[in-house]
């Protein structure tokens, strides 16, 4: 059998650019200085839900406000996680584990709060189009949105056009996130958009998934194309900031 010196024919850029820092070290640099907050963010980063809860408990016992803790500790921890994921230092499963810890933390804060606490940055509806069963991308989108503090209503896969429209009418979300992986199913996007228009509903419609192209999405007015699941929370933030469709496209259409 032949063998080869691979350095002559390829470069493993992942190895080449791997930071000398470990993920833990990189996170360490980002934790807030306040020790109590620091412990919570660290527990989020490590995805240790038990530790999150017990740290939260101590902090509350020390008089810190649940809402304050959500914003300054839990969300902060999750931001570190998202940032390190974006920078390629940690991987998706880490994000998912952290997200669960954070969600548990938020639940706990809500429970412990005196006033009713409805914490979320906004409501998002997420679905896979009719006729399409490829749903793992949608699942990732959903998780990342939740990890970033959004309330996601996940309609599942193979969702009929009318069900999507109904849900939008009922929930009036911040935006709609649709996934399609097949050329034969993505025309549902157009139908949904037309029906929404007909109802006079003007909600940003973010579309993605394997077969969906920017060109296809660009053809309808409400559409914003996103390439990666990790784009969705960024798009969400821009929507929150009030960017309109043209601006959103300017920012997120890469091709």
């Amino acid at each position: 059998m032949l063998d080869i010196n691979p350095d002559k024919i390829l470069i493993r850029y992942n190895v080449k650019v791997e930071d000398n820092m470990t993920a833990d070290e990189a996170a360490e640099e980002l934790y807030p200085t306040d020790n109590q907050i620091r412990l919570i963010t660290k527990a989020i980063f490590e995805g240790d839900e038990d530790e999150v809860i017990s740290c939260l408990k101590i902090a509350m016992d020390d008089g810190l406000d649940p809402l304050y803790l959500i914003n300054e500790a839990l969300m902060e921890g999750m931001e570190i996680v998202s940032r390190l994921y974006d920078e390629g230092i940690i991987y998706l499963p880490d994000v998912i584990i952290s997200a669960h810890a954070m969600i548990d933390g938020i639940e706990y804060c809500k429970e412990m709060s005196n006033i009713p606490l409805e914490y979320n940055k906004g409501k998002v509806i997420s679905f896979v189009v009719e006729g399409d069963i490829h749903d793992i991308g949608k699942t990732i989108v959903t998780i990342l949105l939740r990890a970033n503090g959004y309330q996601v209503i996940d309609l599942g896969r193979d969702v009929p056009v009318d069900d999507v429209v109904e849900a939008v009418k009922k929930e009036r979300p911040l935006f709609l996130s649709g996934t399609a992986l097949m050329t034969t199913t993505m025309h549902s996007f157009r139908q949904i958009k037309e029906k929404l228009e007909h109802e006079g509903i003007d909600v940003p419609f973010v579309c993605g998934g394997g077969a969906v192209t920017q060109d296809f999405v660009s053809h309808f007015d409400l559409g914003i194309y996103g390439e990666e699941a990790a784009d969705v929370p960024k798009i969400a933030e821009s929507i929150l900031k009030g960017l309109n469709i043209t601006q959103l496209r300017e920012k997120f259409h890469r091709h």
């Binding site: 850029y13 190895v15 006729g131 990732i140 998780i143 034969t184």
Partner: protein, 460 residues
């Protein structure tokens, strides 16, 4: 009960495996011989978005696609070709539609065969429509619908029958995002294996009835999902070492189709096929470099190493400067095959195989695992545990870990992250019980609780 048991490897040594030739070649279609001394392009396509607006449009789309492909093959002097039509849901649910398309395609193939003598055949890959909005429905109504469709496309002349079955998908989707290898093995080695057997015992009967070929399955819903999550070198959704181990393990699941009567060529997207070829000696279809229209992998050349058919997986039908997309990609495949065939005819097949293999062997853990020598070793693990699909899956997975660890001491340059992941993975796998019943019982419990939509009745 499954019919065939593969208790020993079809080849005495890994080095006996080459492209274009296998131990159990098959004949089908119009004069087609698969695996008996030459490689054959297998061209795949997806209709344009507009085409699914009506059944008439869809039918005419496949008509055009088929003509375009065959015309180009004639223009280039290509001796043989296979067309693969992957059903979209409508075509399977509405079996009349699917079979009408099969009929039209087969008629066109026949015309070209009559006029030019081009050897050709048609594969139909039925859509696995047993997935509902929130759960799988593997055994009941949808199962019969599937079989109805197989029956009708076979009756209308589809030469090769395939499916990308989804048994185990619910547990897999849950586990993969958590890197939970216990769930992953359960999905592949237990649930998947059970479903594949159920399916292929039936498909084989239908194939027999119409003298079509029960060609095979793929662990697409597990191993390819993992491969896609793993992505390119810089992607961060899944460690490539995990994807490599899942690939190796998935051979155990795909093999069940052959045990139940499938005789190859397995589906192109089954990158595990090289392991199957080593075990069964049956012909395989593969994709890689020339399916970059459909997806990007990091073992594009390597996948040619032992292929009998060479496929582009799928391309949307649309225009390019060089003709319609199916013609352009079909042309790439045809030249690739011509190169392979020229190597065979000049007695240089093994050298070319090795060139192709080493060009990707160290590019990524996935390619390393699928290098034919390593694939062969994984196959051996599987044949050692013929009767226990759990154990053979676990052993295959462990073998992958060990191969990777060994490789990383040599020229396989893993990232620190991949090394850590690999070690964790190996320990996790090692810690699992060897007792299949125990494992299954525990998992049944655990995942029924954890995975919404996991319905044991689909399997047991």
């Amino acid at each position: 009960m499954t019919k065939t048991k593969f208790t020993r490897m079809a080849y005495n040594s890994a080095d006996d495996m080459v492209f274009g030739r296998c131990k159990k070649p098959i004949k089908t279609g119009f004069d087609l011989e698969i695996g008996s001394g030459s490689t054959i392009p297998e061209i795949n396509y997806a209709p344009r978005p507009e085409a699914s607006k009506s059944p008439e449009k869809l039918i005419s789309e496949y008509d055009r696609i088929t003509n375009d492909i065959l015309n180009r093959m004639i223009q280039l002097g290509v001796p043989s070709v296979v067309l693969e039509t992957e059903h979209v849901q409508d075509m399977t649910i509405n079996a009349k539609l699917g079979s009408e398309i099969a009929h039209i395609q087969k008629t066109i193939l026949e015309e070209f065969y009559d006029e030019y003598g081009i050897k050709c055949g048609l594969r139909h890959t039925i859509a696995d429509i047993r997935e509902r909005k929130n759960h799988l429905d593997l055994k009941d109504g949808r199962f019969s619908l599937l079989m109805e469709c197989f029956d009708s496309v076979a009756s209308k002349g589809a030469d090769l029958l395939s499916i990308e079955s989804i048994g185990g998908k619910e547990v897999f989707d849950y586990s993969i995002l958590k890197n939970d290898f216990r769930g992953i093995l359960y999905s592949i080695g237990c649930l998947g294996a059970i479903d594949v057997e159920n399916l292929w015992l039936e498909i084989t009967k239908i194939a027999k009835k119409y003298k079509s070929v029960p060609a095979g399955d793929t662990a697409c819903s597990q191993a390819n999902t993992a491969m896609f999550l793993a992505g390119g070198l810089l992607d961060k959704n899944l460690a490539h070492t995990s994807a490599a181990v899942i690939r190796g393990a998935s051979a155990s699941r795909s093999l069940v189709a052959n045990e139940a009567g499938a005789i190859g060529p397995g589906k192109d997207c089954g990158y595990e096929n090289v392991i199957l070829k080593a075990v069964t000696g049956m012909p395989v279809s593969q994709c890689g470099k020339s399916s970059s229209c459909a997806h990007s992998d990091i073992m594009g050349n390597l996948m040619m190493q032992c292929c009998d058919m060479w496929s582009n997986e799928s391309v949307e039908y649309h225009g390019e400067f060089g003709g319609m997309s199916v013609q352009c990609w079909g042309e790439v495949l045809a030249y690739d095959c011509s190169m392979l065939n020229a190597a065979i005819e000049t007695g240089n097949d093994k050298i070319l195989r090795d060139i192709l293999m080493v060009s990707d062997r160290y590019r990524d853990p996935q390619g390393f695992i699928l290098s034919y020598d390593n694939a062969y070793e994984i196959g051996k693990e599987i044949t050692n545990y013929t009767d226990d699909t759990y154990m053979r899956t676990k052993k295959a997975a462990l073998k992958c870990c060990n191969l990777l660890i060994e490789g990383s001491r040599n020229k396989l340059n893993l990232s620190r992250f991949e090394c850590t992941n690999l070690e964790k993975l190996r320990l996790e796998l090692k810690a699992l019980t060897d007792d299949s019943d125990e494992f299954q019982n525990e998992c049944l419990d655990e995942y029924t609780k954890k995975v919404r939509g996991f319905i044991p009745g689909n399997y047991f």
